[in-house]
Symmetry: C2
Subunit: 291 residues, 2 copies
């Protein structure tokens, strides 16, 4: 297939490389010239604009930061109009379900097909082509796009027939992830307040019914003052923000997500937005006077 790939960041770059390795022709766009140079080294074709990347493409993949960037590339940037009639537009960024539905409608009005397909698995999953991809689209288009998705991920879930349903599953995923990080910090903060060694907490809880993927992954970094950054606080400010936006759209109360969001938000507000997301524990430490 001829694929236009928009957004060559830390995830987009290896995803595009995996598409090329699977035999697809990839024309890519990113505002960062270094990202375009890497695409070229990997066998792709750098484009000067989204429209140039989309010229004659059967598929456009958007791995941008948010829905606004997707709209800019598709509509203002001329990507959508440049695509072949009947082309598929695959939105893989994490976006609010309502925005995804709006974009899908605009894409559909031009006769192209919209595929709602957010991912999870992080940079490691992008590089190894082991991403989880949550797809909301009708059966016929799902069949057509599946070979492309399988070049980037090995867990392809067809979660529903409509645009926005993939985005919702991703939002629910991030709801649990964000709360699990925050509650681990809350537990360590209580232990710190009463003088229990947090390493003991980590050892015991990591092997008990209190365990979570996030406790085991982020817990050790919560016990470090300046851990390496694997995912930043600001990512969860964004993602829990999307969770609450999805809740507003659906008019569903999400009390735990709302409380967890406050702790990430305040962490970012103090200037720690680029720190590792485990450092949400700093908000608890300051709040409880243990920092």
């Amino acid at each position: 297939m001829n694929i236009a790939f928009i957004g060559l960041g830390s995830m987009g770059t290896p995803m595009a490389r995996n598409l090329i390795a699977a035999g697809h022709a990839v024309a890519g766009y990113d505002p960062n010239p270094k990202a375009l140079a890497v695409l070229s080294e990997n066998g792709g074709k750098p484009a000067a604009t989204p429209a140039a990347a989309g010229q004659g493409a059967d598929v456009a993949i958007l791995m941008v930061v948010n829905a606004v960037q997707a709209e800019q590339a598709l509509f203002d940037g001329g990507l959508l109009a440049a695509l072949e009639p009947g082309a598929m537009v695959v939105l893989m960024a994490t976006c609010p379900p309502g925005a995804v539905k709006t974009i899908a409608e605009h894409v559909g009005q031009t006769g192209r097909n919209f595929v709602d397909a957010p991912v999870s698995g992080g940079v490691a999953g992008a590089e190894a082509a082991t991403l989880s991809i949550m797809v909301g689209v009708g059966d016929a288009v799902f069949e057509r796009i599946s070979p492309v998705l399988r070049a980037m991920g090995d867990k392809i879930f067809h979660v529903g027939q409509e645009a926005g349903q993939g985005a919702t599953v991703k939002v629910v995923n991030q709801l649990l992830c964000g709360v699990h990080i925050a509650v681990a910090a809350e537990g360590f903060a209580l232990a710190n307040k009463v003088g229990i060694d947090p390493n003991v907490i980590l050892e015991i809880l990591g092997g008990s019914a209190a365990s979570s993927w996030m406790l085991k992954d982020r817990g050790p970094r919560m016990l470090q003052d300046e851990p390496p950054v694997t995912s930043a606080v600001d990512i969860f400010v964004k993602d829990l923000g999307l969770v609450l936006e999805a809740g507003r759209e659906a008019k569903a109360a999400l009390p735990l997500a709302a409380a967890a969001y406050q702790m990430f938000l305040a962490t970012s507000g103090r200037g720690d937005g680029k720190a590792d997301d485990s450092q949400v524990i700093r908000s608890y430490s300051l709040l409880n006077g243990t920092g």
Copy 2:
């Protein structure tokens, strides 16, 4: 050792049986005559009062419901005065750290040794002698009591030198457990509100960074209307209540635990306290109009 065992419920009965199997002489007390009959069948000696169970005992184990029952048995029930001088009093029930410290002081004033040793692992762990036991006590007493504890559990953690520290670790454990159950329900509730199949959520999130022990264990029962009861809503009303009490004692803010507690509390308040704790999802369903 001569052991007095107080509280022969669903956990205490198999714990006493495992002590007998390890060669200890166990005299037990419980207000329920059926529990005493089972103890007798298992080779233990039923006692008519806590004091009778404690006569000549080197060790007293308390596996009662809460701190008030422990105080009743020890002080009003005459257990403490009946024990040998230098005996060890082992409190294994889940209790607030402050109450544990108070009981420890009273026990210490009589020359006996207090061992703060709450457990996790549930009825299955009690039956298989695979409980986790979190022990707060000085080194010398820890050495003396360890063989007794190892007859009931295979993961013995010496978490600190002081009474109340074992209780605190257990409280932090229950903080994460309770929030993990509630946030799983919150995620399913959002999915239900927007028409996503919750089985899809369970499958995807169970294998992602959003996973937790509780999501995998309680998640399937959240999707049933009347699941079997493995642990009741009222257990988490009690345990998250203890978490918040520990927070009050330490004057530490626990915003996620407080929010989760409200959902369990309201579930119990509608008459569902005896239902499986997965049914905290009913509070979300009613709140969001999806039930």
